[in-house]
C-alpha cells in the first residue's frame, strides 16, 4: 500500500470594489479542496463590507470541484445579491448540472 501526495490545483483570487456597494471577486485557475480556504477567506473579506452586490468573475476558472462550489453557495446564502459573470464552460456546466441556475444567477 502506498500513499501519494494529493494533487491540488493552483488558483489566484482577487477582490476588487470599483464602487463600495459592488465587489467583484475574480478567480483564475483551478479551485479545489487545496485552495478552498483561501477562496473562502477572500469571499469572507468581501462579505464583511456588506456589499449590495457580489459578483464572481469566473471566466478564468479551468476547474472547480464541489469545494469551490460550496464557497459560491455560502456567499449566495449570505450576500444580498450574488451574480456569476461570464463563467467558463466548466463552471457553467457545474452550476447547471448541480441544479443551481436559480441560486447562482449567471450574467452574460
Amino acid at each position: 500500500m502506498t500513499t501519494s501526495e494529493p494533487e491540488f490545483g493552483d488558483a489566484q483570487f482577487y477582490a476588487d470594489h470599483a464602487r463600495s456597494d459592488t465587489w467583484v471577486i475574480t478567480v483564475i485557475g483551478e479551485v479545489d479542496l487545496g485552495n478552498r480556504e483561501r477562496f473562502h477567506a477572500v469571499v469572507e473579506r468581501a462579505l464583511f463590507a456588506a456589499p449590495a452586490k457580489l459578483i464572481f468573475d469566473l471566466a478564468g476558472v479551468r476547474f472547480m470541484d464541489s469545494s469551490g462550489l460550496g464557497v459560491l453557495l455560502s456567499a449566495a446564502s449570505k450576500a444580498s445579491s450574488v451574480e456569476v459573470r461570464t463563467p467558463s464552460l466548466a463552471v457553467r456546466r457545474l452550476i447547471e448540472l448541480s441544479g443551481l441556475t436559480n441560486v447562482l444567477r449567471i450574467a452574460e
Binding site: M1, T3, S4, E5, P6, E7, F8, G9, E30, D32, L33, R36, R62, F63, D65, S66, S67, L69, G70, L73, S74, A76, S77, K78, S88, L89, A90, R92, R93, L94, L97, S98, G99, L100, N102, V103
Partner: protein, 526 residues
C-alpha cells in the same frame, strides 16, 4: 528516539580529528615560519650591528695614529702628544689613560708622558718591553688584551716614527666593572641582548662588555677584525624582531583551530542527530499515515457497507473508491433499502469536502434518509425533510443527493434529484443519461428547496448506474466530457453488473486526476 541516543557519531569524531590535524599542521607551519624569520632577522641585525662596530674601530686607530704622528713631528713630542690626545682622555671619554713611550734600539721603552690614569704597564717593564716592542714592529693598532687590575680595561698600542727612534702611543679604554653596560634606546643595540668578546672564543674571561648577563635561546654571532685581534659579537633578540603577531600566530592558529574543530564536530553531530531524528520521524509519519488510512478505510466501510443487501429480482453491485490520498474520510455514500413487494429504495449522495466533518455529515444524512424512508416517505418528501438538516453556511458542507424507488413490477423509477448527476441507463448496446429535473443540492440554499418527484418508465433488461462526480470529474475539462467518456465506457463494458463496475472503475483509475472519492451503485434487472 534515535538508535544512537548518547553515542557520538563516528563521522563527527572524524570531522574533529581531521580539523585538529589541519590545525596542528597550520600551527606548526606558523611556528616554523616565524622561527626561521626570527633567525634570519637576528642574523641581519647582528651583521648590521657588527658593521656599526666595525665602522667605529677606525676612530680609535685614527686617534692613536694621529697622536703618535704629532709626537713624532713635534719638537717636543710630549707636548704635541698631549695637545692632540688631551681631548680624548678622561672619564666618560674614549680613553681612560693614554701614554707616550719612546723606543730606541738601545734601551728599554721609556715612558715619555701620561694622561689620565698611570698605565699598569708602566709598573711592569718586562711586559712593557715585550708588548711595546711588538707594537713597534707591527703596523696598525695592537691590542694588548683585557686588563683586570685595578679595574677592567682594554689596552691598545700604536707605533710611529723611524726605525731607530719610535714613539708608541699606548691607550686604555675603561670597561664597565662587571662588563655590563646600560641599554640605551635608539641605538643598534637597543633591541638586542649582546655580549662582545675579545678574540674568537666567547668566554667569560674574554668579555669586553655586555648589556645582559645571559643570552636568549636564539643567538647569532659575527666576528669583527680589530687590530691584530678580533671582536666576537654574540647577540640574541631582546624582543621579537618579526613583531608580536608572527610570534603568537601559531598560538592563535592552534587555539582558534581547536575551538573551530570542536565547533565543527558539534555541528556535524547536531546535523547527524537531526537527520537521524528526521529519518525516524519519517518512518513514524509513514506508519501513522498507513494507520490513519486503514482507520479511514475501516470507518468508511462501517458507514458505507461494501456489500449491499440482496434484493429479489435485482442484481446490485456497489463500489467505493477512495480518493488518491485515501487518508481522509470521504463524503460519498450509496444505500439500498428493500421496501418489500418488489420495491427497492436507492440512495446515492455526495457531501462536499472531505475529512471527519464531511464523513459525519454523510453518515447522518444517510441515516436520516433511512429513517424517513422507514416512515414511508417517498423520494421528494425525504429530500425536503433532509434538506432542513444541512446548511452550507453553518456546516460548511452541502450535499448532492439522488433518491429513487425502483419497482420491479413495472420497471418504473420514482426519482427526485438534489443537484446530483443524472443516472446512466444502459440497455443492449446503448447508454444514455436520464433527463431528470434537478433541484438545488441539499443545504445549498437559505431556505430548504422544493423538490419534484418524477416517475420514469425504464426498459428491461437494463442496468441503471448511479454514481458520484468523482467518476467523471477531471481537471482541464468540463463535466460533459467526463459524462460522455463514462457513457462510451458503459457501452463497451460487459453487461453483467460486477464486470461492468470493474470496467468503469478501472477506466476511472486510469484517467483520474482529482482526489475525490467515488461511489458507484449499479442496479440491473431482467
Amino acid at each position: 528516539m534515535g538508535k544512537s541516543g548518547a553515542r557520538v557519531h563516528r563521522f563527527a569524531i572524524v570531522v574533529v580529528a581531521v580539523s585538529l590535524l589541519v590545525t596542528a599542521a597550520l600551527s606548526v607551519t606558523a611556528f616554523v615560519v616565524n622561527d626561521h624569520n626570527e633567525d634570519r632577522l637576528l642574523r641581519l641585525k647582528v651583521a648590521e650591528t657588527g658593521a656599526v662596530l666595525q665602522a667605529a674601530i677606525p676612530q680609535i686607530q685614527t686617534t692613536m695614529a694621529s697622536a703618535a704622528e704629532f709626537a713624532v713631528a713635534s719638537n717636543d713630542p710630549a707636548a704635541g702628544f698631549r695637545r692632540y690626545i688631551g681631548d680624548y682622555v678622561g672619564e666618560k671619554k674614549q680613553f681612560g689613560s693614554a701614554s707616550l713611550w719612546e723606543l730606541t734600539a738601545a734601551s728599554a721603552p721609556k715612558l715619555v708622558t701620561v694622561l689620565g690614569v698611570q698605565p699598569e704597564l708602566a709598573s711592569r717593564p718586562a711586559d712593557a718591553d715585550a708588548f711595546l716592542g711588538q707594537a713597534a714592529r707591527a703596523a696598525g693598532v695592537r691590542v694588548v688584551g683585557l686588563l683586570t687590575k685595578p679595574n677592567r680595561r682594554l689596552g691598545y698600542a700604536y707605533a710611529a716614527g723611524a726605525a731607530g727612534q719610535k714613539y708608541v702611543v699606548y691607550a686604555e679604554s675603561v670597561l664597565p666593572p662587571d662588563g655590563l653596560v646600560p641599554i640605551t634606546r635608539g641605538t643598534p643595540f637597543s633591541d638586542l641582548r649582546f655580549a662582545l668578546y675579545l678574540g674568537p672564543n666567547p668566554s667569560a674571561s674574554e668579555l669586553i662588555e655586555a648589556n645582559v648577563t645571559s643570552m636568549g635561546r636564539r643567538t647569532a654571532s659575527t666576528v669583527i677584525p680589530f687590530g691584530n685581534q678580533s671582536l666576537d659579537l654574540v647577540a640574541s633578540a631582546s624582543g621579537r624582531l618579526g613583531g608580536t603577531l608572527g610570534a603568537v600566530l601559531w598560538w592563535i592558529v592552534a587555539i582558534a583551530g581547536v575551538l573551530l574543530s570542536f565547533a565543527a564536530g558539534a555541528v556535524a553531530e547536531r546535523l547527524l542527530r537531526r537527520r537521524q531524528t528526521a529519518e525516524d520521524l519519517a518512518v513514524n509519519v509513514q506508519s501513522l499515515l498507513l494507520e490513519q488510512r486503514s482507520i479511514s478505510e475501516r470507518l468508511q466501510q462501517a458507514m458505507v457497507p461494501a456489500q449491499p443487501p440482496p434484493v429479489p429480482g435485482l442484481n446490485i453491485g456497489v463500489r467505493y473508491l477512495p480518493g488518491a490520498a485515501g487518508l481522509e474520510l470521504g463524503g460519498d455514500w450509496y444505500d439500498v433499502i428493500d421496501l418489500g413487494e418488489g420495491r427497492t429504495f436507492l440512495s446515492i449522495g455526495d457531501v462536499s469536502g472531505r475529512g471527519i466533518s464531511a464523513g459525519a455529515v454523510m453518515s447522518s444524512l444517510r441515516s436520516a434518509v433511512r429513517a424517513f424512508v422507514s416512515e414511508g416517505h417517498g423520494p421528494a418528501d425525504v429530500l425536503r425533510r433532509v434538506a432542513g438538516l444541512l446548511n452550507v453556511v453553518s456546516d460548511g458542507h452541502f450535499a448532492t443527493v439522488l433518491l429513487a424507488v425502483f419497482d420491479c413490477a413495472d420497471n418504473s423509477l420514482t426519482v427526485a434529484c438534489a443537484g446530483h448527476l443524472q443516472p446512466l441507463l444502459i440497455t443492449a448496446g446503448q447508454a444514455d443519461y436520464l433527463k431528470l429535473t434537478v433541484g438545488p443540492p441539499v443545504g445549498s440554499t437559505r431556505e430548504p428547496a422544493a423538490y419534484t418527484e418524477q416517475v420514469v418508465q425504464l426498459p428491461a433488461p437494463a442496468t441503471l448506474l448511479l454514481f458520484t462526480d468523482g467518476l467523471v470529474e477531471r481537471r482541464g475539462e468540463n463535466l460533459d466530457d467526463g459524462l460522455e467518456r463514462l457513457r462510451r465506457a458503459a457501452i463497451e463494458a460487459p453487461t453483467e453488473v460486477e464486470p461492468l463496475l470493474n470496467f468503469v472503475a478501472g477506466d476511472l483509475q486510469e484517467s483520474s486526476s482529482t482526489n475525490d472519492d467515488t461511489a458507484i451503485l449499479g442496479v440491473q434487472w431482467a
